[in-house]
């Protein structure tokens, strides 16, 4: 067999030409980034939707009317697709290694957009060309339609929709934070991205903020090393009545535990149901060379100093548990006066008037005694389109999985 060496740009174009074009796209992107000094200008609704629709129509038109054209065939072919996957992967690699968002102004890496790689020109151009490639290959499977192609169509169309709507819709995403004090109402939101304050079309009234903690833990703390000593079984000791712990030659038993209490008149803690109550534990400390000691410890609160037990230059201390759940009891009032009462909690956002409200944070310094709540408000009009894409990808994948298993039977 005579091996004929392909010349550069000999039709049909193959991997060599595709890699070159992908590389040139990235280089052109970096040059544009350097020249303009910023990423893409953000397009908002309805302009971005119109541009996206035209872009889609253009791809579909080119794919269907010029499907015999060698250039169009190459544009929608696997060699270019693979080269662009590599280009996008390499750009993502930059984003995956170099910290994003923190650039030294004027530095070379900042000028080329390396710290904002995902909103930079090279990334945008690669994604656009990738959408052309993906869209063309899709158009050929869509027309003429055949059920045989359904898995291909679901996966590729889903990916096209999710990617294009995610990219084109990004400027329309609004993310802001509302700080509300207990018993107060607010409609002012702070945008961290733009560092501006903005009025919302609704207001939030905070009835109550509450925080639930995991049970507190017992530590033997070394003030000189500023760290706790390791317990003999290398476990943490969660406080409850009857629990035992040991450090080298000292054994400790929790003889009493009050989850919510306050010091009584004689200084002995008494159970208290009020919000000011803090956990108390009575320790029995036993060593070989001295009589057992019994003493109370407590986490304390912003109103009360923690109680610790000194022991051979060390301290037995009670550390508050980490937050288990925190929630805000709110009423949202729209511009036309409609009211909606709801409880916000992490992982349980609510939908109000086209916005999504999230429990975000609170006053970290005082934890469960926080007098305010931080609520994140988010609007993303493009979300349904992106989700449609996600579900199409998943449906395509189910078929891919199924066919993969079926082919396996044939293969064996």
């Amino acid at each position: 067999m005579v091996v004929v060496r392909r010349r550069w740009f000999q039709t049909p174009w193959e991997f060599r030409e595709s890699s070159l074009v992908a590389a040139l796209t990235v280089v052109a992107g970096f040059m544009l980034q350097y020249a303009t000094g910023q990423g893409l200008p953000p397009l908002h609704l309805p302009v971005n939707a119109v541009v996206l629709a035209l872009f889609a129509a253009l791809i579909l038109g080119a794919g269907l009317w010029f499907r015999e054209n060698t250039l169009v065939q190459w544009l929608g072919g696997i060699p270019l697709g693979l080269s662009l996957i590599v280009a996008i992967a390499l750009l993502s690699l930059i984003g995956g290694v170099i910290p994003q968002g923190e650039a030294m102004p004027g530095s070379l890496s900042a000028l080329f957009g390396v710290h904002q790689i995902f909103s930079s020109w090279p990334f945008a151009l690669s994604i656009l060309l990738f959408l052309v490639n993906l869209g063309l290959s899709l158009s050929w499977r869509l027309v003429p339609f055949s059920m045989k192609n359904i898995q291909f169509i679901l996966f590729h169309a889903g990916f096209w929709i999710a990617l294009s709507c995610g990219v084109f819709g990004a400027p329309d995403l609004q993310r802001m934070v509302v700080k509300v004090d207990e018993g107060q109402e607010s409609n002012l939101a702070w945008s961290m991205e733009h560092e501006t304050e903005q009025q919302l079309p609704f207001s939030i009234f905070l009835h109550d903020f509450s925080l639930e903690e995991y049970p507190p833990q017992l530590f033997l703390y070394d003030p000189q090393k500023n760290q706790p000593l390791q317990e003999r079984n290398k476990t943490t000791t969660t406080l409850h009545k009857g629990v035992k712990a040991s450090w080298t030659d000292v054994d400790v038993e929790v003889v009493d535990f009050l989850p919510s209490a306050l010091p009584g008149k004689d200084g002995v803690p008494e159970p208290a149901e009020s919000k000011a109550g803090v956990p108390f534990a009575k320790l029995r400390i036993v060593t070989a060379d001295a009589a057992p000691i019994e003493a109370w410890i407590s986490t304390g609160s912003p109103m009360m100093k923690p109680w610790a037990v000194p022991f051979r230059g060390l301290y037995f201390v009670m550390m508050p548990g980490t937050p288990k759940a925190f929630r805000s009891d709110v009423t949202v009032r729209g511009e036309s006066g409609q009211l909606e009462r709801a409880t916000l909690e992490v992982n349980h956002p609510i939908n109000v008037m086209g916005w999504k409200l999230y429990q975000m944070g609170y006053d970290d310094e005082v934890g469960r005694w926080s007098k305010y709540s931080l609520i994140e408000v988010i609007r993303d009009p493009w979300l349904p389109a992106v989700y449609l894409g996600f579900f199409m990808i998943m449906a395509g994948n189910v078929l891919f999985f199924w066919n993969g298993i079926k082919q396996k039977e044939v293969a064996s």
Binding site: V86, I98, Y214, D380, Y387, N397, A411
Partner: protein, 265 residues
């Protein structure tokens, strides 16, 4: 403590080791075959039992820390080896798989973790288990695919044809890719509920996207008349990207602001 990780781990490793030995002897004495399989299988069963008891003791799924995810790999990877033997009559993969599982358990024995019941609020979601389990099974498939590909490469170097082995690494990669896609999308849907946006280019997300692209590239290269035999190197090395995604990310400069740096207790 009522349970003891070290005992369970040693029992599992013991089962795998004696199972593997018996299985080697079974080449001459086929009567040993069943006993060998039962013993190897028992090793994974021990780990499954341990995970179940650990789960009930923690009051939360043991999927929060890296050490906890290693428990699952240790239990599941040998099962893929047995499945491949059953399906394709390929016997050698299970030894690699049991070896890998042993490796994970030894890491856990050398780095005992503090027993901690707490689960931060963001992780208390119905998406937690599907997201992590889909990824776990996907990684297990891709680990097996990578090991198979490596074996294929070594056969190629000794000029031995091996079409069956190439189809095993291919189908494992295909199934793994499907599971990666699900993991990625489940993660996005969860992120929308917990953090407000489905995609924020968090370093872990970026690396998950990268590993997804790696296998997407493989599948398209396969589709485009590139000889599968030549892609075995690629498949073997793709798993390295997954390893970076799984725990390497924690050591990268970009990880400082990640929501995915598992709690280092």
């Amino acid at each position: 403590m009522i349970f003891d990780f070290n005992t369970a781990a040693k029992a599992a490793i013991g089962c795998w080791a004696t199972g593997s030995l018996l299985s080697l002897f079974a080449r001459r004495t086929p009567a040993l075959k069943l006993a060998a399989l039962m013993l190897s299988f028992a090793g994974s069963l021990v780990m499954v039992g341990f995970i179940a008891s650990y789960w009930s003791l923690l009051d939360r799924p043991p999927l929060r820390t890296l050490g906890e995810t290693r428990l699952w790999y240790a239990a599941l990877i040998p099962l893929v080896g047995f499945l491949v033997e059953y399906r394709w009559k390929i016997t050698w993969l299970k030894y690699y798989c049991m070896g890998l599982a042993t490796f994970f358990l030894v890491i856990n024995m050398l780095h005992p973790e503090v027993f901690d019941k707490t689960l931060m609020p963001a992780l208390q979601s119905p998406w937690f288990i599907p997201h992590v389990v889909v990824y776990l099974v996907g990684y297990v498939m891709l680990a097996a695919s990578s090991v198979t590909a490596l074996h294929n490469v070594s056969l190629q170097l000794r000029s031995k044809g091996n079409v069956n082995g190439e189809s095993v690494s291919h189908y494992l990669a295909l199934l793994g890719f499907v599971l990666l896609s699900f993991g990625l999308i489940f993660g996005a849907l969860w992120a929308k509920e917990a953090w407000g946006h489905y995609w924020t280019w968090d370093p872990k997300e970026t690396w998950a996207f990268l590993s997804w692209l790696a296998y997407l590239g493989y599948l398209h290269a396969c589709r485009y008349k590139i000889d599968r035999g030549k892609l075995q190197w690629y498949l073997a090395l793709s798993f390295l990207v997954l390893l970076v995604c799984w725990f390497g990310v924690n050591y990268l400069p970009s990880a400082r602001n990640s929501v995915h740096t598992y709690t280092q207790s």
